[in-house]
Symmetry: C3
Subunit: 345 residues, 3 copies
Amino acid sequence: MFPKNTWYVACAAHDIDTKPLGRKICNESIVFYRDDNGQVAAVEDFCPHRGAPLSLGYVCKGKLVCGYHGLEMGRDGKTIAMPGQRVQGFPAIKSYPVQERYGFIWVWTGDAERADPALIPHMEWYDNPEWAYGGGLYHVKADYRLMIDNLMDLTHETYVHATSIGQPEIDETPCKTVVNGDEVVTSRFMENIPAPPFWRAALRAKGLADDVPVDRWQICRFTPPSHVMIEVGVAHAGHGGYDAPAEHKVYSVVVDFITPETDTSMWYHWGMARKFNPQDTALTDQIREGQGKIFGEDLEMLERQQANLSAFPERKLLKLNIDAGGVQARRVIDRLISTEQAPQV
Amino acid sequence: MFPKNTWYVACAAHDIDTKPLGRKICNESIVFYRDDNGQVAAVEDFCPHRGAPLSLGYVCKGKLVCGYHGLEMGRDGKTIAMPGQRVQGFPAIKSYPVQERYGFIWVWTGDAERADPALIPHMEWYDNPEWAYGGGLYHVKADYRLMIDNLMDLTHETYVHATSIGQPEIDETPCKTVVNGDEVVTSRFMENIPAPPFWRAALRAKGLADDVPVDRWQICRFTPPSHVMIEVGVAHAGHGGYDAPAEHKVYSVVVDFITPETDTSMWYHWGMARKFNPQDTALTDQIREGQGKIFGEDLEMLERQQANLSAFPERKLLKLNIDAGGVQARRVIDRLISTEQAPQV
Amino acid sequence: MFPKNTWYVACAAHDIDTKPLGRKICNESIVFYRDDNGQVAAVEDFCPHRGAPLSLGYVCKGKLVCGYHGLEMGRDGKTIAMPGQRVQGFPAIKSYPVQERYGFIWVWTGDAERADPALIPHMEWYDNPEWAYGGGLYHVKADYRLMIDNLMDLTHETYVHATSIGQPEIDETPCKTVVNGDEVVTSRFMENIPAPPFWRAALRAKGLADDVPVDRWQICRFTPPSHVMIEVGVAHAGHGGYDAPAEHKVYSVVVDFITPETDTSMWYHWGMARKFNPQDTALTDQIREGQGKIFGEDLEMLERQQANLSAFPERKLLKLNIDAGGVQARRVIDRLISTEQAPQV
């Protein structure tokens, strides 16, 4: 259950170079490649000749060539040529609107006529000298909405990430959830607390003391279909917390693009855009490695949670205050899905 | 198909220490842990908050804590506490009667009100200076009843265990099966035969000649739901066989606790309680290793047998004289199941 | 969907020595072994006693013995003996007509009364001093008919085998398909072209120049149920091509015995019988290794094609001129299947 008339992150831009990339997204088998202008194209991963996956083929002069019998596929899903054949009557395969933006490839899985690139959300950190970005990809065998729940309720950090970003003060501090149209925001502000290991390291990286009390914030922002941007950081206590001047704080945005693969699996693009020491590429690598390890701690939990939910589909889960972010995000998703499925007037 | 109103061996007592243990038994996902008194508890492996498996959590001051968001579960299946939440209204999960006895954890998978610890069979070898015990666990992808069949018909030793405990005289000596209520006993007594390698080693360990004729016995005792205790041993021939004085024989009980996991898989706890050289812990280790190797020889046979039976569910298997022990044991099991399923008057 | 009243290649003759071999063919689980005369026998891989796979047993004095309880099975599917049992009343299991011929074991999976060894096609290269043969086996998770399609349309060589036997001239030269009763022949003759690497090596092996234009031929011959013999070779241009005298050409037959395992998997016996340098066993090994590598390049394509076709069972594939060989072969197969299924008058 996922909206289709929307942009999903399919892969990182650098995942597609000279070879085509096959990836299933929202139950659709899609092959991505770059044409001779370097523009990304996406069509069904199914050769109309004999059903071979086009992703096993190659790109020649910007055309996708089937690796089985040499059929040349166009970016519109129509066959361009095939050795020794007239191809005008070949049935077209589905093509997908795609955009390359912010270092990612975005794909529209629904009605192509409604694919408006302006609907791709703006990422202010991209190509911006004040910011640095690093991230990675996990394949997770769980409903993508379990990851949204996870990211909209950070009390789990106390338990799942106890040695890095978790601390009891998260649990002890109530969060607040606000819905603005399709956007859901859950925020938590902790004051005068010790910094956990991840943030102590960040403070040191910026040359700030790591052994003094800090104010810490977490502002989780869901936007459809399944993006979660989380403003995170700490400031030396007494300087205004989230609003403290830059020299007293370390500030980042956790970037989560969660893309359904099937009903019970997802492609999870995670990363961190930070607004401190942006030129320090060694720090970028170090944070990517640390974040990858921390975010990897969630995977077994989510996959086993999915297995439990699949075994007991009739059980109703609790919706506590801490779950409000996920609950509201699911309402937005459900509303979008029912709008898509409603009869067009 | 298995009785539920009965005690099954869930695991060895030492399998549960400071961490919880998740294990599926009779199609029920259960988590076992020790409370602050060291008493074992068992509840469903399903957090009532969001369905996470509680076995991924930890035990804190004798309480089971969910590793996702810190919910504290009680041994009765009722939530004790959760950070920042009132938990009175939380739905309870199932709890299971458990007992620690004879070095194992026993779980009652059916109607908790009928769970009488007195129904756990007595193991005279436990904590008894005249005996020593060693054993292990195998996970086997086969109906647990195939293991009962296997253990109630030891003619297979001649073929499956030809190099250790098998010998043609097993095949050549008829066995006798007797049913006493819910107990089924299949016995075979072989006289004046050579000892096979396993028993030659046992004779040597006790300082007895291993190259003289022996009398050998196998008395397989099934009790519900799926325990098989097998009295085994050899005595120098001419001293009374099974009834020979201790100084002329080596005598053991093969201990088999067979616990269904699903309809086509099982947890198989095997071991040997021996009544010779009980203080010789090196011998215990040596026998455990040898038995583990021998019993491991059955696994492929049973799993492939299961695959064949699953492929041909309509085929009726033969019920020969040698199969009588398993056939009678299955009748007991079937009777217990139909009693459970009968409408309560 | 496969004909059953026909001979399939089950395995190479040397695959069955002292141990029995279990193999599923046309959805039938079969065990093959040699009796005391070295004659191959084949019965169901299912012991009538308790369903154990007989292939886990052993052969003793030419009798197949179940490895579980020692039942002795006869080549006619009737139990010969079992320790301590009268076996006259044991139900028989299915036995299969088998023949050893041309270095292979052939099995008839249908009505045994119709199994005429004369229906096994003649292989003129076998045990013939003018020829040498080498080959191997692949297990492929795809409908066996996808392999027939593959072998009856060699335009795929240009793409799948670009570095060995592929060349653009294959694509550029039309092929011609002829149906003679149950035989389908697709042929292609290319004139005055460069030889691709595989054939250059073959020319060198025979002491012929490899850098001169050649004529090349491919004559793919399908016969039911699923054999494809392909006459292949090159001759120095201007000497008559396919009909050139032996001293100007290198000539081989690609031997393909394609045996269904299940509806979506197959045993693929591939090989090459060559009519040049037959005494050169090092060349045989070298060609086997090269062919194994080349033919291995098809496997991922076919398995992924199968996955695509299974996901979209309703899609009609194109039937182009190049596909005519496979299309006609499937018509022959379909006709044989419907004949088998027709009510007997």
